[in-house]
């Protein structure tokens, strides 16, 4: 069952669309961070930031270092499991997807959002500060995705969003 409300720092498992077919449901699940949601009587749209376990030169080169890495130990998992040791969030890779593309068997949240969880924990505090610094970039990317949907009528990833530009032979 889908959560009634998504909280700040919510991690979900979603069929994130690929750049080649930006308005189609991706055929592989990825851990994503919920940026914002909106709902009416029977529709709920979720803006999600792409997460991957593969951090390579192509990914870093394509996004100028705009990647936030969260170790699995700092994701509080309420249901389901996470196989990757680290979740690398690509800040500018945000798509607007319908809630149906989210696998409700997984439910997690960044484990440094609550103030008392960060007390006397410098690493959590540092992760939180990094998250706060990155959040506007993800929100701006989410806004671009929403404006694109408003203009084109198509959900998913806005055009010209490439995950990896080939730099290595």
């Amino acid at each position: 069952m889908a959560p009634a409300q998504y909280s700040r720092g919510q991690v979900v498992l979603a069929d994130f669309p690929y750049s080649e077919w930006p308005s189609n449901r991706g055929d592989k699940q990825h851990f994503c961070l919920v940026i914002d949601t909106v709902e009416s009587q029977n529709v709920r749209l979720v803006a999600v930031c792409y997460g991957t376990s593969q951090l390579d030169e192509d990914l870093l080169a394509s996004h100028g270092g705009g990647v936030l890495s969260i170790p699995k130990a700092y994701v509080k998992i309420r249901s389901g499991f996470m196989n990757a040791p680290v979740m690398h969030l690509v800040l500018e890779h945000v798509a607007l997807i319908p809630e149906e593309w989210i696998d409700t068997r997984f439910n997690g949240r960044l484990d440094f959002m609550r103030e008392n969880s960060r007390q006397n924990d410098p690493y959590r505090e540092r992760l939180y500060k990094a998250f706060v610094a990155c959040e506007p970039v993800m929100q701006m990317s989410a806004l671009q995705a929403v404006l694109y949907t408003q203009e084109s009528g198509l959900i998913g990833l806005p055009p010209r969003k490439v995950l990896r530009l080939k730099t290595t032979p």
Partner: protein, 93 residues
């Protein structure tokens, strides 16, 4: 029972269309369908399956989400003017 069996020529034609779809993406072959206030896109996937995807998203819903995001960015001091007016993203600092 009568079963359709593609002939060699038809099969080659289907494969050519499939390859073109893969090369150009789905958008080229998308057809917009409308029924009342509902809308859907019809296209053929690379495997040859015809898909119809509902695309009618309430405009108010998108406006509400855009307003929410703009509000958050403005409150944090990262947006000074509405992006909806120019759309070029130059207002972020």
């Amino acid at each position: 029972m009568l079963k359709f069996k593609p002939t060699g020529l038809l099969d080659s034609f289907r494969r050519a269309i499939t390859s073109m779809t893969r090369l150009l993406g789905y958008h080229v072959f998308m057809e917009k369908l409308r029924s009342g206030n509902k809308e859907a896109l019809k296209f053929v996937t690379p495997s040859g399956v015809t898909a119809v995807v509902a695309t009618s998203i309430p405009k108010e819903l998108l406006k509400k989400l855009a307003d929410k995001l703009e509000g958050k960015l403005r409150r944090s001091g990262h947006l000074t003017r509405s992006l909806k007016s120019s759309g070029d993203g130059s207002e972020i600092r």
